[in-house]
């Protein structure tokens, strides 16, 4: 096949269409017994016209066809340890290290050091475990997000969500995301893995719970002092941060709000809080505070205030606040200078918000992908 040399220069030239010659059709063209008519042809996927090309494709897939280049030589490096604080795993190849880093140090909860396989699961975890307002809101509306990315469903409880995962997404029945607190991981680093790989014949009950937990205690294998991390896990940060300033539970409210700011519920939270604040300035202290205030105010006062609160469900309404340390003077200060505290509220939220964002940036910086 001899192509005219001008063709190559035409290809290299600029775009353009030829000025068509005049079209004059004679009705006698294609008249019987002749039958030609110019037409575009479509072929469906199973048409035999495609056979040769399809076979070529499948030869390529099975790799009989391409004699591909040699696998790139993996650079050998002297053994080195993981640089993340507290982790002293040893590696002899960069690929192994990269995988280790991405699995164990990439999507890590900054509160409890758990590692997650994806950002989505990390976000869900933070929301459900470390956002104090989550519990309040989950009583009012469905808050448990489906774990499947792209599914927008939400549920009232984590059990409902699990049912949905099994029923609609055909997840295995022993796939578990959140665990009851009592079994939040064994105390020794190696045990978590053993539990997670437990074969059913050994201990059906236990492995049913642990084996399939995607968000299981990945971090538990880090040879970091485990006991310490456990105690600081879950929701300790706010307490340490601002305990001296006002009181534990107050700060927790603030932090919950500020944390909410990084989550989709922020607007909702803000609207609700602002409404509450406008209605009765005292209530910005939140039901949490009121629950502490009850003994101080006495039964009458409780009767006066509490019923109007949407959230009063007994003293420890969130089921997590064991032993509140509020003291009466906190309460009094807050009551007497409600306006000042309103300003303080703004200050706090921006302070904490700033800190949270710094923290996130810090994590993000640490987690920048390692280039080969």
């Amino acid at each position: 096949m001899q192509l005219p040399p001008a063709l190559h220069s035409r290809l290299a030239g600029g775009p353009g269409a030829a000025e068509p010659l005049p079209v004059e059709r004679d009705p006698a063209a294609g008249a019987p017994p002749f039958r030609f008519a110019a037409r575009r042809v479509r072929f469906p996927r199973e048409h035999e016209f495609f056979e040769d090309g399809d076979v070529l494709r499948h030869l390529y897939l099975q790799d009989v066809l391409t004699q591909v280049t040699e696998a790139p030589e993996r650079p050998r490096v002297p053994e080195f340890t993981c640089q993340v604080a507290g982790c002293c795993q040893v590696f002899d190849s960069l690929e192994d290290y990269e995988h280790h880093y991405h699995t164990l140090h990439r999507n890590v909860c900054s509160f409890c050091r758990r590692a997650f396989p994806s950002v989505h699961l990390l976000d869900v975890h933070i929301l459900e475990w470390h956002d104090s307002l989550f519990q309040i809101l989950s009583e009012r509306q469905d808050m448990y997000q489906c774990l499947v990315e792209g599914c927008a469903e939400k549920f009232k409880t984590s059990k409902d969500r699990k049912d949905h995962l099994v029923r609609c997404h055909l997840y295995p029945a022993d796939f578990r995301f959140d665990k009851p607190k009592k079994s939040r991981g064994p105390a020794t680093p190696g045990a978590a893995v053993r539990a997670s790989a437990e074969a059913p014949r050994d201990d059906g009950e236990q492995s049913g719970g642990d084996a399939m937990e995607v968000c299981s205690e990945h971090a538990a294998s880090l040879p970091e002092p485990v006991g310490e991390r456990r105690t600081s896990s879950h929701r300790s940060v706010p307490g340490i941060l601002l305990r001296q300033v006002v009181s534990v539970c107050f700060v927790r409210r603030m932090l919950g709000w500020a944390l909410g700011s990084s989550l989709p519920e922020r607007r909702e939270l803000e609207c609700w809080l602002q409404q509450e604040l406008r209605a009765r300035p005292v209530l910005f202290l939140s039901s949490h505070f009121v629950s502490c205030a009850r003994p101080v105010l006495g039964p009458e006062a409780q009767e006066g205030k509490a019923p109007s609160l949407p959230l009063h469900r007994g003293l420890n309404w969130d089921g997590r606040n064991v032993g509140c340390r509020c003291r009466s003077y906190d309460l009094l200060i807050c009551f007497s200078i409600a306006n000042c505290v309103l300003i303080g509220l703004n200050l706090f939220s921006s302070l904490i918000l700033g800190r949270t964002q710094d923290r996130r940036k810090e994590i993000a910086n640490k987690c920048k992908p390692i280039r080969r």
């Binding site: 096949m1 290809l11 353009g16 110019a38 056979e51 699995t103 997404h169 893995v193």
Partner: protein, 493 residues
């Protein structure tokens, strides 16, 4: 950009003759499978290089007790290296079909493997995924289906960050997808389409190629037009596919091949092709064609035919979209350089892969059928002669070449006048002598158009003793009417 595939799959180390023989066997098997509509293939990702370096021990068939031993060691070993080694031994064993069978019937084995896959030891996790990959590549469907409990985790890990691991998960999923409809019925609700749509934004080429593989496997299954393609078109995947096919320094051949096939499966199912045209599909593919033609001139043996085939199919089928004018498709493909590029590719096919010539000529037919502009380009760029040189290749090619010539001739006298000079007549007399009825029939159609629009042609035909050639077909039932009509025209002009 157009360098050969950065293969992670090593060539099988054997001599050329043996290789050819194996290829012929494979090809025959594939043709048979295609006719039975059971054409499926799987890919095996195996890094043999590092294994050979480690001593190159031959994989052994493992018995039940050995499998149990390795699993227990991987699960409960005291040292991480030891546990990893146990899994490596297990994986090597799983390269054998016998071991695979033993493994899947062993109680609790898959459960343990999935447990290791979700464990918090990164390297164990990787090794467990490799074991699953070996199983997914099995030809026995029972083995691949035993991997079902792992799919939700494989999908979850696609949103991770470890590129090697994601690549492995994608190839494993791609292998499982084609196994049976039961697998797909599980993968779709588990969210494979959104998971792939999120993963396609990855910057890693190896991940993208693996993703293209998995997606093409998903799109080529039988029930895809009803069950899968609508949701793929509803996601962000089409835009990303087209982005990855845009020519430029970022284009990678291996990645582009996979996604071009994805696009072909979508387009030939004809679910909503106007959507692809409105995303600029025609212009992207047209530019890609130009780029490929440029690359063919510069380099040798790049495996470009693997990409050219699906791209040509996509373009040809998109051109048949009735609603193309409505969504502005016509303007996307009116550059005459496309014709130049196509001829350069035809020349390349002729040398490298003649079986692809019909697909190129099909595209040329769809280009010229309704477009006086492209017909004019064909004439003005002197491409009739090269086209005629393809006539002897095969019957299918001859018919397509003659059809393209008819497309030009039927546009009227101005076109026939340009078409006539040169070797056309002698070539036509040659095709009239073909034994194939369809080739002869198509030649008769072309002659009729030429006689009609270019009366000189009939005179030349008589002079070159064309009538004698025509007489040969007088007895042929399908041809005799047309032969007779042509004889009349030629004699009375």
């Amino acid at each position: 950009m157009w360098s050969g595939r950065q293969g992670r799959l090593r060539p099988v180390g054997c001599v050329v003759e043996e290789l050819r023989c194996r290829r012929r066997e494979r090809e025959a098997a594939l043709r048979k499978a295609r006719r039975e509509q059971q054409l499926i293939s799987k890919r095996l990702l195996r890094d043999d290089a590092s294994e050979e370096a480690e001593g190159g021990c031959v994989a052994m068939i493992l018995g039940e007790t050995e499998i149990q031993h390795f699993l227990r060691l991987a699960q409960q070993g005291t040292e991480e290296k030891e546990r990893e080694r146990a899994l490596v031994s297990l994986r090597r064993g799983l390269q054998h079909p016998e071991t695979q069978q033993t493994f899947i019937w062993l109680e609790g084995s898959m459960r343990t493997l999935v447990g290791l896959l979700t464990s918090n030891q990164a390297l164990l996790q990787l090794e467990a995924a490799r074991c699953l990959h070996e199983l997914s590549h099995s030809e026995q469907s029972a083995v691949a289906e035993a991997c079902l409990p792992a799919t939700s985790y494989l999908l979850t890990y696609l949103s991770g960050h470890s590129s090697d691991f994601i690549e492995l998960c994608l190839y494993t999923l791609g292998n499982l997808i084609v196994e049976s409809e039961a697998v797909r019925r599980q993968l779709l609700p588990q969210g494979i389409v959104p998971a792939l749509a999120a993963c396609i934004q990855s910057p890693h080429l190896t991940v993208l190629e693996a993703l293209g593989y998995a997606l093409s496997q998903l799109l080529q299954v039988k029930e895809a037009p009803e069950m899968i393609i609508p949701s793929v078109l509803g996601s962000t995947l089409p835009e990303h596919i087209l982005r990855l096919l845009q020519p430029g320094p970022k284009l990678n051949l291996g990645v582009a091949v996979e996604f071009a096939w994805c696009l072909h499966y979508i387009i030939c199912s004809q679910v909503d092709n106007t959507l692809l045209i409105s995303h600029g599909g025609l212009s992207t593919l047209g530019l890609l064609l130009l780029d490929m033609a440029g690359a063919v001139q510069r380099t040798e043996d790049t495996g470009l035919e693997l990409l050219a085939c699906p791209v040509l199919r996509c373009l040809s089928n998109l051109l048949t979209e009735a609603a193309m004018e409505v969504v502005g498709g016509q303007n996307q493909l009116e550059d005459e350089r496309v014709v130049a590029a196509l001829f350069i590719l035809l020349q390349f096919f002729l040398q490298k892969q003649p079986s692809l010539l019909p697909e190129g000529l099909w595209f040329l037919n769809n280009l010229t059928a309704n477009s006086p502009s492209f017909c004019t380009s064909l004439l003005s760029m002197d491409l009739i002669e090269p086209l005629l040189q393809l006539l002897p290749v095969s019957n299918v090619v001859s018919i397509l070449v003659l059809t393209v010539l008819c497309n030009v001739a039927e546009k009227g006298p101005a076109y026939c006048q340009r078409l006539w000079p040169g070797p056309l007549l002698s070539c036509l007399i040659g095709t009239l002598a073909f034994p194939d009825i369809e080739v002869v029939g198509q030649s008769l159609e072309l002659l009729q158009l030429l006689f009609l629009y270019q009366p000189e042609a009939a005179k030349d035909f008589l002079q070159q003793s064309g009538l004698q050639v025509l007489e040969r077909h007088q007895e042929e039932a399908q041809l005799q009417d047309r032969v007779h009509a042509l004889q009349q025209t030629a004699l009375h002009q």
